[in-house]
């Protein structure tokens, strides 16, 4: 499994994704007009796609990072354990992303 490069790629994506987070926070602190701009962007198709991708990158990087912490502690090096951790991060990352988005849509009542 070549998942370590995915860990790195999601890390780099999250790095630039923080620009969106910072923009959102600054807009919220600035005023209604600035905040409406962010909401217009995150409500657009491209915006939603980027935020969805960001959510997946975060969830995958989180689980795949926990996998690295397990290895740092000296566990999980057997072939079947490595496979299980890798598939767990991959499937878990996708599942958590979908779960967060379901809860998000339930929270805002089916989209703004």
């Amino acid at each position: 499994m070549a998942l370590s490069i995915v860990h790195r790629a999601t890390g780099v994506a999250l790095y630039f994704g923080t620009l969106l987070l910072a923009w959102w926070l600054i807009a919220a602190a600035s005023g209604p007009g600035a905040y409406a701009n962010v909401q217009a962007f995150t409500g657009s198709f491209i915006g939603r796609l980027i935020v969805f991708g960001y959510t997946w990158a975060l969830m995958h990087h989180l689980l795949s990072g926990l996998r690295h912490l397990v290895w740092d502690l000296g566990y999980g090096f057997k072939a079947n354990e490595r496979e299980a951790l890798t598939w767990g991060a991959l499937i878990g990352g996708i599942s958590l992303t979908i779960l967060v988005w379901i809860v998000a849509y339930m929270t805002i009542g089916g989209g703004r």
Binding site: G11, V12, T18, L19, A22, L25, I26, A29, L69, A104
Partner: protein, 132 residues
Amino acid sequence: MNAPKSPSMRTPLARVRALGSSHSGTSDFWRQRLTAVAMTLLIVPVIVVVLMLLGSNQAGAKQIFSSVPIAIIMLLFILASAWHMKIGMQVVIEDYVHNEKIKLASVMANNFFCIAVALASIYAILKMSSGV
């Protein structure tokens, strides 16, 4: 072999042992794990805060950030993530950029980016939570 005269009792080998090519030892390795564990602990509260913010307008968002625990959770997460991504991107740069000058410029730009993102976010949260 004549080692240069050292003001310390420590031998030259003792002074560089385990510090590696970055001359800062394993401190970045440790802080990368420290911030990773911090964010793992904070991720559920942070997601809850983001979900709370989703349905609200700017006034609502400001209202949510006026809560002290929420502001602190977000500040901790931003601090940990900025530090984590600074170290992570530096590792990526050191792996792929081999020209020494471009590498130094990239590492510097990485520091500027992470500090700017962190400070802008922290300023925004403090501004909202202090209600100005």
